[in-house]
């Protein structure tokens, strides 16, 4: 395995010379106006890893009335309503940072609003299912969490779709929110999503993403802080099989002092042309003194022919930070792990299975929603059965 760790305290001189308006060198300005997001050529920083041709014309932005089927199970304190696009924008979440997100807002013809008010007794569960890849679906969802609420929301994505969506979270002061996003699509689905998370003063958000299915999934998760003391954990797992492109991008914009962010994504890849992309960007603005951030991405390459791209970026504009670091590893099974397990009598296939389970369990055990944890573990077991269960296919 190769490990790169960067610890930084920033460049005080550069910070001293910065203007109040600091802009990320890696991201365009957010805007709802589609015209501000011209059609990409594929050379742009935010598009260079995405196979544009496989987006099935989503970038053209043809309007469509098609919808995914929604099923929900909502405890008291959680309500779903429909609002206009203008009302959705007025709630004030993060605006689109790329063309597909802007198109999703523009073409959705209104938004679905999930309001959370108070401490929920059980998770608010929403299942979105698609029945066909033929029609393009545009989606716009806003989640508004009242101050001091406490909730877990699960979004379960299944079926076949060609889908672009913008999901905006506005989390009130002191609220605690867990979001579990499961992408268990059929293998013909194309899904591009922008998750925007605005974190209130002293609020804590844990955002889980589990991406197992889909022909192409591109998930961009952007975070900003609306007051000091906010905390965010972005925790992800992805498992790419032959031909799948699974891309996860995070942009944590530390816009307030004494805020915290922790990003951990773990992926496994197997099969010819399985491709995963992880981009972890963190911007620490001049105002964001005393913040703490760490990003980590680990990739386990199970077979030949797979490719993992992993790019952490830190942009630091202040010299006064508590901690900033990132690490990225990509490799095959660790020989020392396998040797230790085998030296206790465990055969190589079982040893590999244990290691992969452990690799993912590290994230999964933190969900705290038991049936989802079990479902994820068994989904991973199914994925493993195709390769690790068949030692002849493992080249590691």
């Amino acid at each position: 395995m190769t490990t790169a760790t960067v610890e930084g305290t920033g460049n005080q001189m550069a910070a001293a010379l910065e203007l109040d308006h600091v802009q990320s060198h890696l991201h365009p300005e957010p805007s709802y106006d589609v015209a501000d997001h011209p059609k990409p050529t594929g050379l742009e920083e935010i598009w260079r890893f995405t196979p544009l041709k496989r987006l099935r014309g989503l970038l053209d932005g043809e309007p469509s009335d098609a919808c995914l089927e929604w099923k929900d199970e909502l405890p008291a304190g959680a309500t779903l309503t429909t609002i206009t696009t203008d009302e959705a924008k007025a709630i004030g979440g993060i605006a689109p940072l790329d063309r597909l997100s802007a198109l999703a807002v523009e073409n959705s013809g209104g938004a679905t609003l999930l309001t959370i008010d108070g401490e929920l007794d059980s998770p608010a569960r929403i299942v979105l299912s698609g029945s066909s890849t033929e029609q393009t679906v545009w989606g716009h969802v806003v989640v508004k969490v009242a101050p001091f609420s406490k909730a877990t929301i699960t979004f379960d994505h299944v079926g076949s779709a060609t889908y672009a969506s913008t999901v905006t979270y506005v989390v009130g002061d002191g609220a605690q929110l867990d979001v579990v996003n499961l992408a268990d699509w059929n293998d013909d689905t194309v899904h591009a999503v922008q998750n925007g998370i605005s974190v209130g003063r002293d609020a804590a958000v844990r955002f889980f993403e589990f991406t197992l299915g889909g022909d192409l999934v591109r998930s961009s998760t952007n975070v900003d802080y609306r007051g000091p003391g906010g905390s965010v954990d972005l925790l992800g797992i992805y498992f790419a099989d032959a031909g799948q492109h699974l891309e996860h991008r995070q942009f944590v914009d530390h816009t307030a002092p004494r805020t915290r962010s922790n990003v951990e994504y773990k992926g496994a890849l197997q099969g010819q042309d399985a491709h995963t992309v992880w981009i972890g960007n963190v911007l620490i603005r001049k105002i964001a003194e005393g913040i703490d951030t760490f990003e980590q991405n680990d990739n386990l390459v199970l077979t030949d022919g797979a490719r993992a791209d992993s790019v952490p970026n830190l942009e630091i504009e202040t010299g006064d930070i508590a901690g900033a670091g990132h690490a990225s590893t990509t490799g095959r099974f660790d020989d020392e792990h396998l040797f230790y397990l085998q030296s206790r009598g465990i055969d190589p296939t079982e040893a590999k299975r244990l290691v992969v389970h452990g690799f993912f369990n590290d994230i999964i055990r933190r969900i705290g929603v038991e049936d989802l944890q079990e479902r994820l573990m068994s989904a991973i077991e199914d994925e493993l059965a195709t390769v690790v269960g068949n030692p002849a296919a493992v080249t590691a």
Partner: protein
């Protein structure tokens, strides 16, 4: 009655300058019921001997054999050697994130015995083994070796030794880095294991200190990739008094 015979063992590792021979003809026979201590200076090849017997892929056997009751275990895979009755307590046990101690121990026990242990007695056995090593029962839900102190890792190794109860145990510098209390706990564990009477121990160490707690039947001095001298307890006392100089000079 079992026997572990190491015959004319030659082992090399790959280095940037090509293969380098570390073990240069080791001959040693351990019968069940015996405790053999191997003492040697740093770099003499003691750990290489331990890992070669266990089958670590880094080490290439260039000559010789290791027979467990007549079967050459060098022809077996790492897990097959363990199932044949060999155990290596490692000097630096690795951390395995996300794999709980409980799951690991049950999987290992199932592999060694060929059947899953009975759930009710097994949990008791595990808790008792941890407790004897003064490890809190909460260790069984922690990831294997993750965040364990150096001493906790060593005690975890000996807890495994007691639970898996192999025919032969190779202990690679299990005493290094232990304070006196931990050393006593670990030694008690090894003594319980060997007190069964039909188990063999190969105790590899740099220091004579552990021999105050574990009584060896044989002491071997290991220098420059082979055994330089064999004796009893008194040899350890000689080493304690005079160091390895006499043997390292002789080997040059």
């Amino acid at each position: 009655m079992s026997t572990l015979e190491i015959k004319n063992l030659h082992v090399s590792v790959d280095t940037e300058d090509g293969a380098k021979e570390i073990l240069r003809g080791v001959d040693l026979t351990i019968n069940s019921g015996e405790v053999h201590a191997i003492m040697g200076p740093n770099g003499s090849g003691k750990s290489t001997l331990a890992y070669s017997i266990a089958g670590h892929p880094k080490y290439q056997i260039t000559d010789g054999e290791v027979l467990l009751d007549g079967q050459n275990i060098l022809e077996l895979s790492v897990d097959e050697r363990a199932r044949a009755g060999l155990f290596l307590a490692m000097q630096y046990p690795v951390e395995i994130p996300g794999v709980s101690v409980a799951n690991f121990l049950r999987t290992a026990k199932t592999a060694i015995d060929g059947e899953a242990p009975k759930l009710r007695t097994w949990v008791k056995d595990v808790n008792a083994a941890l407790e004897r090593m003064t490890l809190d029962p909460s260790f069984s839900s922690r990831s294997v070796n993750e965040g364990f102190s150096g001493g906790e890792k060593k005690r975890h190794e000996i807890a495994q030794l007691e639970l898996l109860n192999p025919k032969f145990a190779v202990l690679d510098e299990t005493d290094s880095g232990l304070d006196i209390d931990a050393l006593r706990v670990v030694s008690d564990g090894v003594n319980r294991y060997s007190a069964q009477g039909d188990r063999g121990v190969l105790l590899i160490t740099h220091y004579t200190r552990i021999l105050n707690y574990i009584e060896p039947d044989y002491v071997h001095v290991f220098v420059a990739g082979r055994l330089a001298e064999t004796g009893g307890r008194e040899l350890a006392e000689l080493l304690e008094a005079e160091g390895y100089d006499k043997f390292t000079k002789a080997a040059v």
